[in-house]
Amino acid sequence: MSAVAAVARALPIPAGAGLARALIERNARAFRHGWITLVSGVFEPIFYLFSLGVGLGALIGDVDAGGGRMVEYAAYVAPAMMAAAAMNGAVFDSTFNLFFKLKYAKLYDSVLATPLGPRDVAVGEIGWALLRGLLYSTTFLVVAAAAGVVHSWWSLLALPAASLIGLAFAAVGMSVTTYLRSWQDFDYIQLALLPMFLFSATFYPLSTYDESIRWIVQATPLYHGVAMIRDLMLGDVAWGILAHVAYLAVMGVVGLLFAAHRIERLLLR
């Protein structure tokens, strides 16, 4: 234990008491009084699946899922909806909800007076966002399977994959939130999210883009999330998927440490 503490002091990792679970428990209790927010998170990707995948998909027919393999459009777009929902859920939790707790409810002022430290706050809040996200992605996967657009047992790995997307976006979202001054600033977040949602090879293959601009798409995190989950749900798994995993894992860990550092800077002055 003291060796761990010594290492933690040597590294630029903000302090914590390993009690992040207490904050998760707090959020779960608060959630019981406001469960309605759960419903919107569950239905958002399902609505997209039926509107775009099933509805619009009837006009589109089959699409090339890469390597000349043809799949129906709903099966092609379902993984993208799952990835995008993981992103949206994580961002919503780590921006709007966090901003409220930080600036108005002053929740962390009282939390940090206990043994909990800034690292516990970051881990606890992001952990909670992931738990919620897991609930959403599980319901989505069940509905997608029932609709007959899930074709591979690899799809089960889409659940932890969606959590990884959640981690990456929640961690960065939390970091960004510590810089926001007012509710108006949230428009900047929307400005970043919407084009990512629309253009990250979500609704059509990357090959649609001209060679010269593909790298821009490939640089964005949602592209990697969509590609990763699509590979899994279509059962198209190769070693290349680890590049997506690595991208999102690095984004998540760096984001989390930075978020904890920012909480420390803001509240422990």
């Binding site: 207490a22 209790r29 206990t114 043994p115 909990l116």
Partner: protein, 304 residues
């Protein structure tokens, strides 16, 4: 319990706490008195291990806040100036969840919550949400919550500011009981009656420095006379009257609406004033209070 030496807190170029020395002993009630902006809250935040000192040394419960912050905070109770209750939870849940932040078991915090709700006279509001509670109730809940870990040291930042007189007396009573049970209390206040009621020892802070230190009695003896005679005359300017009375008291202070004569025997001085043929509209002889000390030390100018 607390040992601070040349403790300093700077925010950029502004020095909020300027090289103060403080010793707090186990079991006592210790007060930080001072006007707004004197550095009381900054000092409390450093003691609460949520604000690193800029300079000087600080030991709390024999430990160093920079190294052992979580271990120290585990043994502290903190009542912040502004209630930071969790409005998304009920009254009982506020105590339960707060206890879990200390890593206490669910069974333990459940039992503790019942006991603390009783202590704070909130048992019948246990399942209410926090928002509709009165100011006094919220304050009592904040204090109840801060006791969930059975702290050895309780930090109270302006515990009764904004409360009505009844609520203040209830709170004082609760704090007395805590002190009797052996909890060390450290509080800030700008209410003199509160300091006289609660504190065994106190320091007066002004502009980030300690300007006086001692028990309430000692401070009054040192910085004020035993009694104060207040005289009000039918005049807009009281200064000319002061000139005629300086030899009757140890110190005469001119206020816009009255004169204060610092003396050891108020009635005798009042008689002497009458003998000079001066006829004040009103005469009041009273004992000196900590307020006289406070105003003498920190001045009457409004600070914000």
């Amino acid at each position: 319990m607390i040992s601070a030496h040349r403790l300093t807190k700077r925010f950029g170029g502004f020095t909020a706490v300027d090289s103060i020395d403080v010793e707090v002993r186990r079991g006592e009630a210790f007060g930080f008195l001072g006007p707004n902006g004197a550095g009381k809250s900054s000092t409390m935040r450093m003691i609460g291990c949520v604000s690193p000192p800029s300079d000087g040394s600080l030991r709390i419960l024999g430990l160093d806040p920079a190294r052992d912050g979580p271990a120290i905070r585990a043994r502290l109770g903190v009542v912040p100036q502004r209630d930071t209750l969790d409005e998304e939870l009920t009254v009982r849940e506020n105590i339960l969840v707060y206890g879990r932040y200390f890593g206490l078991s669910r069974a333990h915090v459940r039992a503790k919550a019942d006991e603390l709700l009783e202590f704070a006279q909130l048992t019948d509001r246990a399942d209410s949400v926090v928002e509709p509670l009165s100011g006094g109730m919220k304050r009592r809940l904040t204090i109840a919550r801060s006791l969930v870990n059975d702290p050895e040291l309780l930090l109270l930042d302006e515990p009764t500011t904004g409360l009505d007189p009844q609520a203040r007396h209830v709170l004082w009573d609760r704090l007395f009981r805590l002190k009797r049970s052996g909890v060390t209390l450290v509080l800030t206040t700008h209410y003199m009656d509160e300091a006289e009621q609660l504190c065994d020892r106190l320091v007066v802070m002004d502009g980030g420095r300690i300007v006086a230190e001692g028990s309430p009695r000692e401070l009054i003896a040192l910085h004020a006379t035993r009694e104060v005679l207040e005289l009000r005359f039918a005049a807009d300017d009281h200064a000319p009257y002061a000139a005629k009375l300086t030899d009757l008291a140890q110190r005469v202070e001119v206020l816009p609406d009255r004169l204060l004569l610092y003396t050891d025997d108020g009635d005798a001085t009042a008689a002497a004033v009458q003998r000079r043929g001066l006829a004040p509209l009103s005469v009041l002889a009273r004992r000196s209070t900590l307020e006289d000390v406070f105003l003498h030390l920190t001045g009457r100018t409004l600070v914000d």
